[in-house]
């Protein structure tokens, strides 16, 4: 398959908004020309209101472009919406496609019917997803009673039930705790490895981009501001993450852990901050090294602020 899975040319979308009594036009997406090859994993990042969701809605046939052209999976999204829906799986982090009052299992069965899956395909795919996303314990629980982490896993499974060629995730990790994020990312990596699925991901979380995406698109005020690999992005803005650990007892400064830089200690060394380069080591390895020296009570990982990344990239291109 040499045809790109996403191809936009001069894609533009205006919204007419009421501004007091007058109406004015806001350009949400401005002359976007992008190609994504099958099998790529692309992070699509930008500040709030930069046009990410609008782009996704045009890619999936929800919104009609004001001008320009778009082909997704070789189909015209608006005209071929129903055919396209069989090729694409979409998760909107803040919208649910599950049935609030039904058990997760029932939601999957309805979606399988909506997508005309055969009984055999439905069973095989559901089993695979339940296993990989560790959903067995809450399959019988009504969706409204799920924790956010559980619901997100169920949402992702729901979007992937029909084995789409392209997955589009809009803020999939928003509000999730470290562990839930980690699980979801691991699942996505495994899913892509076994099915060769193309991934387009919008996020405010640099961690998502680093773990999942080989290529990054940065959009600012509707315009493409950066298109390249993560290394280039890192070079531009620096991609250091910060591990903050709360320790059981006062401990000396945790210096000398490979790949990290000790930033600060607070409260007599009860809380320490370690910066680490995500390309040189992992949070897990750093944590293991810290655990050898002191008992860890709690931890957070601070990601580089995506607004900051966008701002710097935008500045660097002027």
């Amino acid at each position: 398959m040499s045809d790109p899975i996403i191809r936009t040319h001069g894609l533009t979308r205006d919204f007419r908004v009421r501004d007091g009594l007058r109406r004015r036009t806001v350009r949400a997406v401005d002359d976007l020309s992008v190609e994504v090859a099958a099998g790529e994993a692309v992070g699509y990042i930008g500040a709030n209101g930069a046009g990410k969701s609008t782009t996704i809605k045009m890619l999936t046939g929800i919104l009609v472009p004001t001008s320009g052209s778009v082909l997704t999976c070789g189909l015209r999204p608006v005209a071929d919406r129903r055919r396209l829906a069989r090729e694409v799986g979409v998760v909107f982090g803040q919208r649910s496609q599950l049935w609030w009052d039904l058990p997760v299992r029932e939601s999957f069965r309805i979606l399988a019917a909506i997508h005309d899956l055969s009984t055999e395909a439905e069973r095989r795919r559901t089993d695979e997803l339940v296993d990989r996303l560790e959903m067995a314990e809450f399959l019988g629980t009504p969706v409204r009673q799920l924790s956010l982490g559980q619901r997100m896993r169920a949402e992702v499974a729901a979007a992937l039930l029909h084995s789409p060629r392209l997955i589009i995730l809009d803020e999939p990790t928003i509000g999730l705790d470290v562990l839930s994020k980690q699980r979801l990312r691991e699942f996505l990596v495994a899913e892509r490895a076994s099915h060769g699925t193309t991934l387009l991901l919008t996020t405010h979380d640099m961690g998502d981009v680093e773990r999942l995406c080989g290529r990054v698109l940065v959009v600012d005020r509707g315009r493409l501001a950066y298109d390249g690999d993560l290394r280039g992005l890192s070079r531009t803005v620096g991609a250091e993450r910060v591990l903050v650990v709360d320790l059981a007892a006062s401990t000396g400064d945790l210096t000398g852990i490979p790949g990290t830089r000790h930033l600060a200690s607070e409260a007599n060394g009860l809380r320490q901050r370690l910066a680490f380069d995500a390309e040189a080591t992992t949070a897990a390895r750093v944590l293991a090294a810290v655990s050898e020296r002191a008992e860890v009570l709690d931890l957070t990982v601070e990601e580089p602020d995506i607004e900051d990344v966008v701002r710097r990239i935008y500045a660097s291109r002027r």
Partner: protein, 234 residues
């Protein structure tokens, strides 16, 4: 259900004071009411969910419908089926059966066919009204009140003898939204009556045309609406 009973009682009270209205007696108007009300209730049962569209538009649930390989309208009307609306249909059905028994109808195969045609067409006409209103919601912010005036106003007009309507009402609910074809005109034809003045008695046979016209309006409205969609924010 209560609403249906109250509306039926309204017809009753009216006839407590007058012997006939618009050239029809109570049992004859019962036939008009029964036909229109039953058709409306059944349309409400299946298509009434179009009323929920503004909510779906605002909370973005419609985006999810776009992402599934099924027609949007089908997803909308099947997103909820309120079986309690069946009780509402029972009122119309009772009125219709009573009217069919009480009236002196000269039954023939043609009359049975007409009754079936009238019910099917009336159902389709009201269903079309719901779809038309749904399509219009895409354009009208807080537009439900405007379209309700036609959908529910039309239902109310349909359950009255159209002979008491004035000219503007005829223009709107006689022809543009052909409400007269859901109750009044088929009832006239069933009863073998001539309409008031310029309306021939056979007009009741045209109910299917009225239904087709409503659906033309409905599908145009729906299609424009879907293309006009601005997304649910996000």
């Amino acid at each position: 259900m209560l609403v249906g009973v109250v509306e039926l009682a309204e017809v009753w009270v009216l006839f407590h004071n007058v012997v006939e209205l618009g050239g029809l007696e109570f049992t004859q108007i019962l036939l008009v009411f029964g036909l229109a009300d039953l058709c409306f209730s059944l349309a409400d049962l299946s298509f009434g969910h179009c009323d929920r569209l503004p909510t779906y538009l605002r909370n973005g649930a419609l985006d999810v419908f776009y992402l599934r390989p099924q027609p949007l309208l089908l997803q909308l009307i099947t997103s909820d089926v309120s079986l309690r609306r069946l009780a509402r249909a029972a009122v119309g059905a009772t009125a219709l059966v009573a009217a069919l028994v009480l009236n002196d109808i000269d039954w023939s195969a043609a009359h049975v066919l007409l009754l079936v045609l009238a019910l099917v067409s009336g159902y389709a006409t009201f269903a079309g009204m719901f779809v038309w209103a749904g399509g219009a919601q895409f354009f009208l912010i807080e537009g439900a009140e405007t379209t309700n005036a036609f959908v529910y106003g039309g239902r109310y007009a349909a359950s009255q003898p159209a002979s008491v309507w004035n000219r503007p009402l005829w223009a709107v609910f006689g022809f543009f939204f052909p409400m007269a074809f859901t109750g009044f005109l088929p009832a006239l034809t069933l009863l073998g009556l001539d309409g008031p003045g310029w309306l021939p008695g056979w007009l009741g046979w045209c109910a299917p045309l009225a239904a087709a016209w409503t659906w033309l309006l409905a599908l145009l409205s729906w299609r424009f609406g879907v293309r006009h969609y601005q997304g649910g924010g996000g």
